[in-house]
């Protein structure tokens, strides 16, 4: 063992070690990316299973149907008659229906302001008190009046009331059932859930006058389709990439797929043949949604409060009718009703690639961690390197050669490895300028964050255009400013890069545990920053690197993705501002405060012209 230690100590001083990090970083990135593509393989993913035995999905007979369809038709007539009326008129009518069923009804007003728009509405909710229970626990059934696409939830709302009437007849409920009708799919549920947990700003969102116990689960019905359906689409993405417990998805899968014989789709994969390409596509779509962190339906708002929730969307042309959908909800509610404990058994961190295949965090996390680690490795390597006097520098000092040849000398130094004496010379690090620069970049990042979250809607596109142009020019300006006033040395460039990468690596690896996909996405897009360095002697390389960096700039990526999905940049920014204001999506923070400063630092380094001279030599 001591021999091993001394061997390792000797190895540490070996200059060959310092040549290794760039290759190691590259290896990390490659392995991280390849790892991801291995996940959909049969050997690396697992089959889903029900972990919580109390759920017993699909074990009960469902009786919803028969004459309940007559009632459903009547409620549908009522809902159709209300189409196009104001929120208040709709709620007044729905309230009378709910009261007629013997439920406790209440309403809640909310107003949100974002990007100059005011989002206002009134939620209606009705509580079915568990016949023999006390108000300690509750499950929620949500139907937004308008779904996430803005269509009238034509069948979902009547189904909610028909189910309410049906559930009232049972005496087996151990938990209260709350029926919630919101005017829209995002702001309404958010206001309600916030108020339920008293986490709301009472100036904008009313408190709830009527409450029940702790929420144990929520199902949202998004059934705007007019005709009969074939399969159910389970939407499970929560805000900021949080996911509901896998047991909930598995239970619905079991009930809809197993008991009812419907198809189940995930991530808008309407057809899935369970082969590698489809699995990969499902997984990547899931990761993209998770990475963006946007709310995808009425269920999304529940997940941050540890209330497991999904939205069920019927789709396709088939022979399943509204009653079948009702039975899926009934079966799921019976399962949730069985729960003795809060859903905690199964996974909260997973990637689904087919309705019955998933990978858990232990399997996929190394991918993002490796990508994040590449920055840290490079940062540490640069820190060590900046503290050592390279052989080339000695010569440079002695001969007083032109600065441009420094790099060539560096290469020579690489050939002359094996001379241990050169490594033992240490250099004092001048960290003030690099530290100041990196800090300034980090603080500068609050500017776009504030700007895009607070600017009114009409100004967003012009502001973004101006910002994108400034963003391209900014590194040039900073670089010439630095060269003119501070004449930074190679060591200072190295340290700047080291600090910047260190922060990036740190942020991304901690982010990977919260939102794996966002961390991986940003990590991959920022990975070229690891290999950026000043090119004082090669203008071609400098230009090439600058072009590359501008192609992967946060602004450019934003424009490219907006173009890919054929939405305006203004639309994307408005959505992001809405998400930030209403439900606290933190992706903009990651983009502007983690990625963007690292990008600016990287761009400045590429344009850098290191001056001659290093810090004072001190002997180790």
């Amino acid at each position: 063992m001591p021999r091993l230690i001394s061997g390792a100590l000797r190895l540490r001083r070996d200059p060959r070690i310092l040549k290794l990090p760039p290759y190691l970083s590259l290896l990390c990135i490659l392995v991280g990316a390849v790892w991801l593509f291995l996940l959909p393989l049969q050997e690396y993913s697992r089959r889903t299973y029900i972990s919580e035995n109390a759920l017993l999905p699909g074990q009960v007979h469902t009786y919803f149907g028969g004459s309940d369809q007559h009632v459903f038709r009547a409620y549908k007539h009522e809902v159709n008659a209300l189409a196009g009326k104001t929120n208040i008129e709709i709620n007044t009518e729905l309230e009378s229906i709910a009261k007629g069923l013997g439920l406790k009804v209440s309403r809640q007003n909310f107003t949100y302001t974002s990007a100059g728009h005011v989002y206002t509405g009134e939620n209606l909710y009705a509580i079915l008190q568990a016949p023999r229970g006390d108000a300690t626990e509750a499950i929620v059934l949500v139907a937004a009046w308008k779904n996430a696409k803005g269509e009238l939830n034509r069948n979902g709302v009547p189904l909610l009331f028909t189910l309410a009437r049906y559930f009232k007849r049972w005496s087996l409920w151990s938990k209260d059932i709350i029926f919630l009708v919101t005017p829209d799919s995002i702001a309404g549920p958010q206001a309600w859930v916030d108020a339920y947990h008293d986490a709301h700003d009472s100036a904008r969102v009313d408190s709830l006058p009527l409450k029940s116990g702790a929420l144990q689960g929520a199902i949202a019905i998004d059934y705007a389709q007019e005709s009969r359906f074939e399969s159910v689409h389970i939407v499970y993405d929560g805000i900021n990439g949080q996911l509901p417990n896998l047991d909930l998805i598995n239970s619905i899968n079991n009930i809809a797929g197993g008991q009812m014989g419907m198809g189940v789709a995930l991530q808008e994969m309407w057809r899935h043949n369970d082969q590698y390409p489809d699995r990969l596509r499902t997984m990547l779509r899931g990761m993209l949604k998770q990475g963006l962190g946007l709310a995808s339906g009425p269920h999304s708002s529940f997940i941050p409060y540890h209330v497991d929730a999904v939205t069920l969307q019927p789709f396709g042309e088939g022979w399943q009718d509204e009653m079948a959908m009702g039975r899926v909800v009934e079966g799921t509610f019976r399962s949730l009703n069985n729960l003795l404990e809060h859903l905690h058994q199964s996974f909260f961190f997973y990637l689904l690639m087919q309705r019955e295949r998933f990978v858990s965090i232990g399997t996929y996390l190394p991918s993002a961690m490796l990508v994040a680690a590449n920055f840290t490795i490079m940062a540490i390597a640069l820190w060590i390197k900046s503290g050592q006097r390279e052989r080339g520098d000695d010569k440079q000092d002695k001969d007083g050669k032109a600065e441009g040849e420094g790099e060539a000398e560096g290469k020579e130094a690489g050939k002359e490895v094996g001379e241990p004496s050169s490594a033992s010379v240490a250099v004092e690090r001048e960290i003030f300028l690099p530290l100041g620069f990196v800090t300034a970049c980090q603080f500068l990042a609050f500017l776009p964050l504030y700007l895009f979250n607070h600017a009114p809607d009409s100004l967003l596109t012009p502001l973004f255009t101006i910002f994108a142009i400034l963003n391209t020019l900014l590194p040039h300006v900073i670089s010439s400013f630095l060269t003119a006033y501070y004449t930074p040395t190679t060591q200072q460039y190295q340290l700047t890069k080291s600090f910047s990468l260190l922060l990036l690596g740190m942020f991304l690896s901690s982010l990977a545990t919260l939102n794996f996909s966002l961390s991986l996405l940003v990590g991959l897009l920022a990975s070229p920053l690891t290999f950026m360095r000043p090119w004082p002697s090669s203008p071609a390389m400098r230009i090439a690197c600058t072009v590359l960096l501008n192609a992967i700039a946060p602004t450019a990526v934003l424009v490219a993705s907006a173009a890919y999905w054929q939405v305006g940049v203004g639309e994307v920014l408005r959505e992001a501002a809405f998400a930030w204001d209403v439900y606290g999506m933190y992706s903009p923070v990651v983009v502007w405060c983690v990625w963007w400063p690292a990008w600016v630092a990287g761009s400045v380094i590429v344009l850098g012209r290191p001056a001659e001279g290093r810090g004072k030599v001190k002997t180790a």
């Binding site: 007559h70 009632v71 007539h77 006390d134 409060y305 003795l340």
Partner: protein, 606 residues
Amino acid sequence: MRQLFSFSLLSFFSLCFAFLATAADYHEQLVLRPLPLSALLASFNFRSNTTLSAFEAHNFRFFPRSLGQILQHAGTRELHLRFSLGRWDAESWGARPWNGAREGGTGVELWAWLEADTDEAADHQWLTLTNALSGLFCASLNFIDGTRTTRPVMSFQPEGDHPNATDTNTHLLYGVLPHEVVCTENLTPFLKLLPCKGKAGIASLLDGHKLFDASWQSMAIDVRPVCPPGGEGECVLEIEQTIDMVLDIERSKRPRGNPIPRPLPGHELHCDTSKPYHSGDTCFPADSTANQDWSLSQVFGKTIKGTCPLTDPNVPPVCLQVPDARSVYISNGALEKKNQDGVSRCFEIEPETTDFELLLPSPEDLPADNLQAGQEVENIVKPETPLLYAERSFTGHGQERGGVQTILRNPSPDKEVEFIYMESLPWFMRIYLHTMQARIEGTSPSDHDPLIQEVYYRPAVDRARGTQLEVRMRVPAASTVFLTYDFEKSILRYTEYPPDANRGFDVAAAVITILSPNKNDTRSATYNLRTTSLLCSLPTPDFSMPYNVIIFTSTAIALAFGGMFNIIVRRFVAADEGPEVSVGSLKQKLIVPLRRIFARVKPGPR
């Protein structure tokens, strides 16, 4: 002499019994009251007396011996025991039966006045009492330990007369088990205490299947000494057993063999025919007006098996509270007597009747001349508005701290309500008393005169006793008051978690005792109500984790031990002090022994 004395004593007692038996030592009554939204309140009341002297001489007649002996053993002067399930829906059903005096919060509630010289002695007797009652009623009453016992100061007043009691030797103890699930095994011992058991009289209707399918039910036992006014005559010990239940008529009418609420055939649905789209396959339900007809055998599954022969014949066994306009059909051998108030009637059952059946037809079935427009609202007696509505819930989220918010609404337009709000909280909810505030809806707390008038607070001691909080406060007329306070959740030791599935910890209902508005009165309670219980989730370790921890620590110890052992037994030198480690030296090291071996194997030249 002694014989003579005992004989005279005996004859005296037998005389007494003969006298008391005629003067109604036992009576029972069932009051049925239809409630809005097709619910039916059934209140069973059984009351029996014994003189205190007979009680002390262990002469039990109507008073159940099993309970009597426990009370004597534990020195109990007055006892109140409650088993409750479900919620009273005050919004729809109005004021509570018995003004809330005969009900408890969800689970089991027990309070008693014990005679003891010191607090310690009282605690000891309380322990005896709870353990004995636990055995008698098959309930986990023995879990009412020090952490669940409080000594209320303001909330409870004795119901009975205690002429000899002084403050120093009577102790009120109150214990509550919110998590206890009340079920059939609690009903059976309850019925056994009755003189006719469940065999005859109104108790024959009581059946676990129906009782525990009720939307709300409360079983109460109250034992109290009652002295005749003016101090004349002998005091009696009265035991009152009460069962209140609210049945959902539709649910109760389902046959027992087929309790599943299958959808009705389309033509049997009650529809609102005024809707323009009404047709054979489209039906807007009109459930609220449905199910107003019922009979005893439909909702209880059986008829009343005659009368209990021991009951006081002057008290009618069954009463029904419906407007006089509605007709009621009863079986032969019974007599209907309408009361003066116009909304109730009672039925006397002749002793030889074996089955009593009562049928209330739905208003539509009434003869046409009786049914007039505008009578629909008069089908049932309009429920009385309660003095106060109370709703309690948790605020906040997360595992670290939270808050409790109680919404108290006074529906009266001109009368202020003054009451005592009592919470007995488990010790792991550490409340911050300074955060307690009461505010009228729409105002800030400082805007008006103080709503909280008096606070009695006994802080919790970890693992020894719970928090007791009693607040005397008022709610002005026609206003809603929010009473809020914050608390912190403590972390339990892993052995303190119950072994069953971790659902959370139930927090007992708050008890609200409304004081009589007359200030000169002895502040007696006029109305009681209880909020629902709460479920408090504490930071819970994932119990599979200890297993992982064991594995991790074992691995870590193994690694650390290996390293430590190595360091202890080896000598360390710096790398440059030690022998050169290089390929050359390695080669040397290999070559030398090899040569030696070769040298041995090869016979050298001799």
